[in-house]
């Protein structure tokens, strides 16, 4: 098993204000799998993603990647772990405002000993002609494509996507989803995507539904659809 999540629990606050966000999550994800975490706001999906990404820590439980326990990692090793294994895509892109498109992608490439070719990637992402523009000269879709480029240029094992289409219109969203799908297929990258859009679940290999901090449904999607045909 590539990614194994065992009884993850996480709460915020204390005393009367204690909110249990994750109440014992158990999950196993295979290498190369496209996994979608679905659920309403407050269901704990982003928190789970952040814990998988090593930018938040669980109160209890284990996460194992290639049988390596994340709980045993100190901050330094967590950095290395993120560096080697993870790519991150956020809803609000989080591009570096004073770096160009190419340079923002190079920010990711710099972290890898075997990065993808930046020019190829720029072509693939349809950003080549915008490569010398700054983020504020781009549309939302172009910014998100740049963010995807930054995440995948280091060829991560896992791509974590936190509502990647949350700030985009329908067509741009589909374009971005298609791109993520292509990455999964082309590079075999494991994808874990958080979304509240049920339709997006149809393009995944595995659909996990969360509610109130618990997994309500964990199913393999046997009728997987291409991003192109998704409708919502």
């Amino acid at each position: 098993m590539f990614l194994e999540i065992r009884n993850i629990q996480k709460s915020f606050g204390s005393g009367d204000c204690l909110v249990e966000v994750l109440k014992g999550i158990d999950l196993q994800i295979n290498r190369g799998e496209f996994c979608v975490l679905l659920g309403p706001s407050g269901s704990g999906k982003s928190t789970l993603l952040n814990i998988i990404g090593g930018i938040d820590r669980a109160d209890s439980g284990d996460i194992l990647i290639n049988e390596e326990k994340m709980a045993d990692m100190n901050d330094k090793r967590l950095s290395v772990y993120r560096r080697k294994h993870l790519g991150y895509i956020f809803q609000m892109y989080n591009l570096i405002p004073n770096l160009t498109v190419r340079e923002n992608i190079e920010v990711g490439a710099y972290l890898s000993s075997r990065p993808l070719d930046t020019d190829d990637l720029l072509h693939t992402l349809g950003l080549f002609e915008h490569r010398n523009k700054l983020p504020n000269q781009l549309s939302g879709g172009q910014q998100q494509r740049t963010a995807i480029g930054r995440a995948i240029v280091k060829n991560p094992d896992i791509l974590l996507c936190d509502e990647p289409t949350g700030a985009l219109d329908y067509h741009t969203s589909k374009e971005i989803l298609h791109m993520i799908e292509s990455i999964n297929q082309t590079y075999g990258t494991t994808i874990i995507m958080v979304t509240h859009n049920d339709a997006i679940g149809h393009m995944a290999d595995r659909i996990i539904r969360l509610r109130d901090g618990m997994i309500r449904e964990n199913m393999l999607n046997t009728q997987k659809l291409s991003a192109h045909v998704l409708e919502w």
Partner: protein, 779 residues
């Protein structure tokens, strides 16, 4: 692969040019000035120290009434010294100053020719360079006394007069009214012997190892000479202010400038700390993303530290270049404006380099490292959420809803930026401290001169120079037989030395030393005042002891306190209980009934040692008049301080204004940048730029004005304390520090004016913040 983040540096520099420029400018000016000062100080001090050997400076000098006979000279030289003639004549010049003229020197106290040529024939003269500058004299000019005219051929520095003290007992030197000069031996002979002072310099055959040994050797020598010939003056090297003062003052200046550098560095460090914190806050999501992507904390620390450190290093290098070139000359000229120093060679000063370059860079590195390390220890998630507070959210400060909304809004801005405002307050306090120093010192000195003129005891005080032993000696005792100690410390005469001047009033005077000041010994002049004195408005009983207000202020003395004074060279102590304070700023004095003073000192009841007079006394035998104290003498200290520090005051003022501008600009800029999103939202909501400015600029304005007002009394107290300490530790005499109200007005206006310019820049900045700023950054 090169770190792509490096490409941000030039862009970051361009986009935040204002911030980096003012920091760069402040660093360059501070480092340039301090480095220039330290290099000049070090080079000149080295030249000064080397001068002792290079110009063969004497180990001391003594003065006698008449020329030493060969026998006397040989007898003195048997005591381990070599004697050199160092005769001089003092000539009052037509310009009102006094010139002490020496014959050409070959063996000791040699002369450094600064410009022109040494005199070649009678009628030619080389004068002290600084005296020439102060009196607007140049080579080729002629100077006149009553009987002589000289043509100036050169400007010189006399190695035994690096500081132009006319009298070693003077509290300050006076390079305006007193100068030294060199003429040819023939030219000197032509001046005659009428006003000739028989001064002899000595050099030990075996030099003393230190001041302590020098002191013992000098005391022994003094006793020995006194047995051979009657001394009128005896000044060993370690006590010679004309030689020693320069070196001591330069050392003190270096300490002061170093402290100034550290204070400025501390302020810059705080500014950098705040700037970095602001950068991290504004880059929060970028940092979060980079950390989430796998960038290590160390990589980010390196990244965010590079630019400020680079700016500091470049500023330090340029500051050093400016320091070694332009500023060194400016600072050297400041010294040349105060002292008669010989020529110097610029010397590489490792200490200056360490202080002005290594320390600032190190300081900057440390503060950046600590701030960044602390800030970046938060989790990537916190950065992504822009939640950089370490503490749990405290309860929101409750502001009464009856307070107008805009006022509450401003209050919130102030609370939000409290750390910035604290640094701003410290900066304003420091800048104003410099400003109050720069602006009030000339006023204080001017005020001192006026006060002295207003409450002068009399226009002329004649101190007669006849020893106490003369009163108890047998009638056939020769003047030459009187000991030096008697001559130096007391001068009492019997009724025989009288004047026909109706203004003249006898008084007793005796000088004792203070015992309570651990840093220096002050000479206290005890006046014995005649009954019903027309000069001292006191009706003193036999038990009354009044002290001058200057004495009371300097030592914090009050009525009822007891003072303890001692004989300068003996272990005899005197205690006096103060019964009153007499308003007199001209010196550290004690006023007693003449009879009581004479009794205290075991002298005859009607013994006296001088005359007070409002008109000049002309019928006293010249040889008996030790010194005449006039207004000119009393104000010498203020005149010289004015002369030597005047040019520095403008630099201090400029420096203060610069710090003021830089701090206000940087901190208010950060406050506005921090709030750019809120400003943008306010714009979207329909606020006008003027309204927004009234929120963000007004809150800073209110605080700036508050700090300015608050700083005035604080600075006055602080400056009074510093000034008091400076005089207490380092100077004889006393000057009351009182800031005229006009200085406060000037300081406040300057502060407000400077702020107004910065506020205009900030208004423009607010106007430029686009409305989509808020939309872009919404998380």
């Amino acid at each position: 692969m090169k770190n792509p983040l490096n490409k941000r540096f030039p862009r970051e520099l361009r986009s935040d040019f204002g911030k980096y420029f003012v920091i760069f400018f402040l660093l360059v000016s501070t480092i340039g000035f301090v480095s220039g000062f330290l290099v000049a100080d070090h080079s000149l001090l080295t030249a000064y120290n080397e001068g002792f050997e290079k110009y063969n400076i004497e180990d001391g000098n003594f003065t006698v009434h008449s020329k030493l006979t060969n026998y006397e000279r040989t007898s003195i030289e048997k005591h381990g010294v070599r004697i050199y003639d160092n005769y001089y004549i003092e000539c009052p010049l037509a310009n009102g100053s006094t010139l002490r003229i020496f014959s050409e020197r070959r063996d000791v106290n040699q002369v450094c020719l600064m410009d022109g040529a040494m005199p070649g024939k009678p009628g030619e003269i080389a004068i002290d360079r600084m005296y020439a500058v102060n009196n607007q004299l140049k080579i080729g000019d002629t100077i006149h006394s009553d009987s002589y005219t000289w043509k100036i051929t050169g400007l010189v520095a006399l190695s035994d007069y690096s500081c132009l003290f006319q009298d070693n007992n003077d509290s300050m030197f006076d390079a305006l009214q007193f100068g030294v000069a060199i003429v040819t031996p023939d030219g000197f002979t032509a001046l005659g012997k009428k006003n000739l002072t028989y001064c002899y310099s000595w050099k030990y055959l075996d030099s003393p190892a230190d001041d302590q040994e020098a002191s013992v050797m000098a005391e022994d020598l003094m006793k020995s000479i006194n047995h051979i010939v009657s001394l009128t003056d005896f000044i060993p090297l370690y006590q010679n202010q004309a030689i020693q003062f320069t070196g001591e003052d330069m050392g003190g200046d270096r300490a002061m400038i170093t402290i100034l550098l550290y204070i400025v560095m501390l302020i810059i460090t705080f500014v950098f700390g705040i700037t970095i914190s602001h950068t991290i806050e504004s880059e929060s999501t970028v940092i979060g993303t980079l950390l989430a992507s796998g960038y290590t904390k160390q990589e980010l620390i390196r990244h965010y530290m590079t630019l400020p450190l680079l700016v500091t290093i470049i500023a330090a290098l340029i500051g050093n270049i400016i320091g070694y070139t332009f500023m060194k000359n400016v600072c050297a000229n400041m010294y040349y404006g105060s002292y008669s120093l010989p020529t110097y060679q610029t010397l590489w000063n490792p200490q200056a380099f360490f202080l002005t370059t290594i320390i600032p860079v190190l300081l900057m590195f440390l503060i950046n490292d600590i701030t960044l390390r602390r800030k970046l220890s938060l989790s990537p998630l916190k950065f992504l959420r822009k939640d950089l507070s370490r503490k749990k959210q405290k309860n929101t400060l409750h502001l009464n809803h009856r307070i107008p909304f805009m006022t509450r809004f401003r209050a919130r801005i102030i609370f939000q930026n409290s750390s910035n405002y604290i640094v701003l307050m410290c900066g304003i306090l420091f800048a104003n401290l410099l400003l109050i120093f720069g602006m009030s010192l000339p006023a204080v000195l001017h005020n001192y001169q006026e006060t002295i003129s207003d409450n002068l005891l009399c226009n002329y005080q004649y101190l007669l120079q006849v020893p106490v032993s003369m009163m108890s000696m047998e009638n056939d005792t020769e003047l030459e037989d009187i000991s030096y100690a008697d001559l130096l410390h007391a001068s009492f005469l019997e009724y025989s030395l009288t004047t026909a001047n109706p203004d003249a009033e006898k008084f007793s005077a005796y000088s004792l030393n203070t015992t309570s000041n651990p840093y220096r010994t002050d000479e206290i002049l005890l006046y014995g005042i005649a009954k019903h004195s027309k000069y001292i408005d006191l009706d003193l009983s036999d038990h009354d002891v009044f002290i001058s207000s200057a004495y009371a202020e300097k030592y914090g003395l009050n009525e009822g306190d007891t003072i303890r004074l001692k004989e300068p060279y003996e272990d005899t102590f005197y205690r006096f209980r103060i019964t009153g304070i007499y308003r007199y700023e001209g010196g550290l004095c004690v006023f007693m009934n003449q009879k009581a003073l004479n009794q205290t000192l075991n002298l005859e009841e009607d013994a006296f040692s001088g005359y007070f007079s409002d008109s000049e006394i002309t019928d006293l035998p010249a040889g008996y008049v030790g010194s005449v104290i006039t207004l000119d003498d009393l104000t010498k200290i203020s005149r010289q301080l004015d002369q030597s520090m005047g040019s520095m005051m403008y630099i201090v003022d400029g420096f203060a204004i610069m710090i003021f501008v830089v701090l206000i600009y940087l901190l208010s800029k950060i406050i506005i940048e921090k709030n750019s999103q809120s400003i943008s939202i306010a714009k979207i909501l329909g606020y006008h730029t003027m309204e927004i400015s009234s929120l963000y600029i007004m809150s800073t304005s209110v605080l700036v004005i508050l700090f300015l007002l608050l700083s005035l009394p604080l600075e006055t107290i602080c400056m009074e304390w510093i000034f008091r300490l400076y005089l207490y530790i380092g100077m004889s005499g006393w000057i009351t520090f009182s800031v005229p109200p006009i200085v406060f007005l000037k300081m406040f206006s300057l502060g407000v004016g400077t702020y107004a310019i910065v506020a205009m820049l900030e208004f423009w900045k607010i106007k430029k913040i686009p409305m989509d700023e808020a939309l872009k950054n919404v998380e």
